[in-house]
């Protein structure tokens, strides 16, 4: 029988960010679709990452999905100990014969929402609120900035990071202050890539009658009417895919790079924001998307050189 498993990052499976996306769009859906329970584990400290992987592996679970770049060294070690177990790591590359690495082209999706924001902004000013100041978040920021400047070279771009510790992903009060600050500097649209902190940004946008852009999962429903769109990163779907492959015996090691083309990152259009997006706008963004997929537009990946020079 299939024995899929997942180990979340220490932020926990309800982090309002990618762990939660794995849980909601991966685990829950998989449980329902396949009638197979995915074994979950949430480590509470660094040492338990390895411990969790090892225990799952020794009990015969496979494939085991490790959520987040923080798992790199643990996966590397445990994968060597259990060569017959399939490991999948998300957001990071681990080079082992029994490890599948899934990375996303977040900058591509961010580019789209950046362009959309620039086109929508009445003040020609757009803002970005990041969570913890780490390269991954800068990757979001950089794609967004590039997209905005692509759509309007004269756009003013404001960027803030919430903090330098993981609590920066869970500080809506600060998110709201940052949003207010950016609004006072003229921004009228803010893209928040900040986990739970983003909720404060969305609330502030609503209070101020401005727009916000959600992240990771489709967050348009959070504040309907003032959520311009969301940059969707389908981590859950990717996890789902890997378990499904495992079940069907199709699982392959190696690197999976998932971007617009694979429909793994995208911008969200649903009933909550349909009224905000004109047909022109929609066509424009879809056009950009096609261009990126076709390689006509190259979006700079911050993490390729740790700079944002596009």
């Amino acid at each position: 029988a299939a024995k899929p498993a997942v180990v979340y990052d220490t932020a926990g499976k309800f982090d309002k960010s990618f762990n939660e996306a794995v849980f909601r769009n991966g685990v829950e859906v998989f449980n329902k679709d396949k009638g197979v329970q995915v074994r979950e584990f949430e480590p509470q400290n660094e040492a338990q990452r390895e411990q969790g992987l090892r225990r799952l592996a020794s009990r015969g679970f496979t494939p085991i999905v490790a959520v987040g770049f923080n798992f790199a060294s643990a996966v590397e070690k445990v994968a060597a100990e259990f060569p017959d177990t399939q490991f999948t790591i998300i957001d990071m590359v681990v080079d082992k014969p029994n490890v599948q690495s899934i990375v996303f082209q977040e900058h591509e999706g961010s580019f789209l929402v950046g362009a959309l924001a620039a086109k929508t902004s009445k003040t020609a000013t757009v803002g970005f609120v990041g969570g913890m100041d780490i390269p991954l978040i800068r990757k979001f920021a950089c794609g967004y900035e590039q997209g905005a400047k692509f759509a309007n070279p004269d756009i003013k771009y404001i960027q803030n990071m919430t903090g330098s510790t993981p609590s920066a992903f869970a500080d809506p009060a600060k998110g709201s202050e940052l949003a207010k600050s950016q609004f006072s500097q003229g921004a009228d649209i803010i893209y928040a890539a900040a986990g739970g902190t983003g909720l404060g940004v969305y609330q502030a946008a609503k209070d101020a009658g401005n727009y916000a852009i959600g992240v990771d999962s489709n967050q348009n429903f959070v504040q309907p009417g003032t959520m311009l769109t969301s940059m969707v990163k389908r981590v859950g779907v990717a996890a789902y895919g890997t378990w499904e492959e495992g079940m069907n015996g199709e699982w392959q090691p190696g690197i999976k790079v998932l971007g617009l083309k694979e429909n793994a990152v995208d911008w969200a259009l649903d009933e909550h924001n349909a009224s905000l997006i004109s047909e022109d706008m929609k066509a424009y963004v879809e056009g950009l998307k096609a261009d990126i997929i076709a390689g006509k537009i190259s979006v700079h990946d911050y993490m390729s050189d740790n700079t944002c020079n596009f």
């Binding site: 509470q44 040492a47 090892r54 923080n70 060294s73 957001d91 100041d133 780490i134 510790t165 050189d305």
Partner: protein
Amino acid sequence: MSQARVPAWVTVALLPAINVLLAFLVSALLFIYIDISPIDAAKVMWQGAFGYAEGIGYTLYYTTGFIFTGLAVAVAFHAGLFNIGGEGQAYIGGLGVGLVCLTLGEFAPWYIVFPVAIVVGGVFGAAWAFIPAYLQAKRGSHIVITTIMFNFIAASLMAYLLVEVLKPENTMATESRVFAVGSWLPKMHEFFALFGYEMSASPLNLSFFFALVCCVFVWLFIWHTRWGYEIRSVGSNPSAATYAGIKYVRIVCLTMLVSGMLAGFFALNVLQGELHQIKLNFVEGFGFTGIAVALMGRNHPIGVLLASLLFGFLYQGGAELSFEYGVDRNIVVVLQGLVILFCGALEHMLRPSIENTYLKLFAKTNEEAA
């Protein structure tokens, strides 16, 4: 003084044991409330922490960490200082250990790196404790507040260093690069394998022995040297200490240096022993829990050792619990809070009744004997 006295073991061992039980009982109610049988939970925790070799390894690995931070708090307590800053000192100590492993570790084997890391980690931790100590002694700044502030400052500083300085270009986790394999502290199972003993793999490493050495060191230092004597004097009666010619400023600084040093050693276990790279937030609250450890251990190394074992059990058993039941890991935090509440804050609650009960029983047997 006709009344019989209660023997020491009643207050030193029986009372804490009953208090721990009480904490467990209260948390049992919570378990029942969230639909988990407390008996099963206890079984899982016990099995997970002591039931198999790897589990024991993990338990002792956490124990090692608690010994360092617990001793740090205990030493400061002897001088009447409440060092809430173990968290930050351990963090900065980790910077020291990490830097040694990143530089010297490149070309030197672990047995050379280890002593150097001990010195540098200790010095870094001590330095971080020194500033609040000096301010307390010289300027009267409240050490509880300054050490709390220094925890926050350490967090900012380390975040900056990890993000901007130590992080390799091509990774995205906020962590330094991995130390060279040669500088890693041998794991206990590797170490014993040398002598032909097979043990299952766990993060337990040689720094456990060093932690035991530190227990002995603290015991000797506090109770068998003139400096320890001076520290206890300052802690029990500062004006008498002044009368005796003990220099307050010097002793406060010395105590906090030792305390910070012990907290700094924390990183040996976690960084050089297990993670092999400096990670953001690698201290993970062990500095704070050290306060509970010291209190439960009555600031004595043996007590600290036992309390560390208890907390090691809670951590490892709790992990097993969340592994088996998928329950929230925070339930262990509740347990931890209850243990501190009953063993620390409410330690006087049961004392009179237990002592009286003991005396009654004791008196009875006496009468019967007579």
